[in-house]
Symmetry: C2
Subunit: 206 residues, 2 copies
């Protein structure tokens, strides 16, 4: 499988087949879900023969896993690596990013969607979804620590839960729920950060 990427000059010709397949995944999996998207349809959308698709990916399971891995490998760099924002602003920015710009709904978090659709915790895509969610919580906790939160791990886990709640709720209700999550996040952050605007109340429930 290593030759796939670093072949001396091997597959330089059909350049982009792999990317086209993953691009088709992003569109079709978002529009109609993973289970309802067949390999035939997917290959047709990618303008790639099934033969080629199965030469790049061992099977649909591996393709789904790779689709998730390619989705946001750096874990929201636009939020967490933005040095123009203070740590506190970065925490809040995580809730404003997804809903930015277009008037359409924030698409369902693909990691949650994959875990629910595949329904097997040991599926490679489910495993990666877990890793990604842990990574998000860790970055939130790091930023919370940087902001001076009393209990950064707890705040990170709480904010991560808000993100997932907004994603799930947006999908079920067909209504944007990230503003609600952002409002809760503001309260939690104010309560956890001592120097900022919050009052003295710090009821950290163990």
């Amino acid at each position: 499988m290593t030759e796939l990427e670093k072949g001396p000059q091997g597959l330089r010709r059909g350049r982009g087949a792999r990317e086209r397949i993953l691009g088709a995944c992003r569109q079709l999996f978002r529009d109609q879900g993973i289970n309802r998207t067949g390999m035939d349809e997917l290959c047709a959308a990618a303008q790639v023969s099934k033969r080629t698709a199965y030469q790049h990916f061992a099977g649909k399971d591996e393709l789904v896993a790779e689709y998730l891995r390619q989705f946001d490998p750096d874990v929201m760099p636009a939020v967490f690596d933005n040095t123009d924002l203070s740590p506190r602003e970065r925490l809040l920015a995580a809730f404003e990013l997804p809903a930015s710009g277009t008037g359409e709904l924030t698409p369902m978090c693909p990691y949650i969607a994959a875990a629910v659709e595949l329904h097997d915790p040991e599926h490679p895509a489910s495993r990666y979804a877990r890793d990604y969610k842990n990574a998000i919580a860790a970055r939130l906790a790091d930023t919370a620590r940087e902001a001076g939160a009393a209990n950064p791990e707890q705040l990170g886990e709480q904010l991560a839960l808000l993100l997932d709640g907004a994603a799930a709720r947006t999908r079920v209700l067909n209504t944007e729920s990230f503003p609600t999550a952002a409002a809760i996040a503001a309260v939690l952050i104010d309560n956890a950060l001592p120097a900022t605007a919050g009052d003295g109340a710090k009821t950290t429930v163990g």
Copy 2:
């Protein structure tokens, strides 16, 4: 379809076919998901012939919708109709109920799971999932109003988001997330209820 339930003495014989089918739905849909459960397998588990199943339900779509409708038609009565608890305690109880008792994880909220798996907002089951989620938020808002919250609708929506976040996160991470949601809920409730204890004090509202 009216004769199905109220036939004078019609289907008294095979009593329970419908209930057995729905019971099999609850188990199989929870254990392996909706899409991965075929009608053959479902009928076998219910000890019902496919012919009978399709006499009770127009199709799998309608069966899934009915499965959701039967799940919690009264919208958590054990929480919201419990007169032994104060309104504030009822709001908190909504987060302790699902994880109670057994050592296993809280199962994924079937409404979210159905909406994600079916992936069609106009599917009858997706429509009902939306109705149910709105009903939960409404009951939470009513209870928040009863507890004297400044903005009960907002608090209800926030608490509903926490429930959904805990459900989604529990599923993805394979780790119980309701305690985290309960901790956030406690903060939100304390912040929204004026008369009650702002900090650790426990003066329950009358």
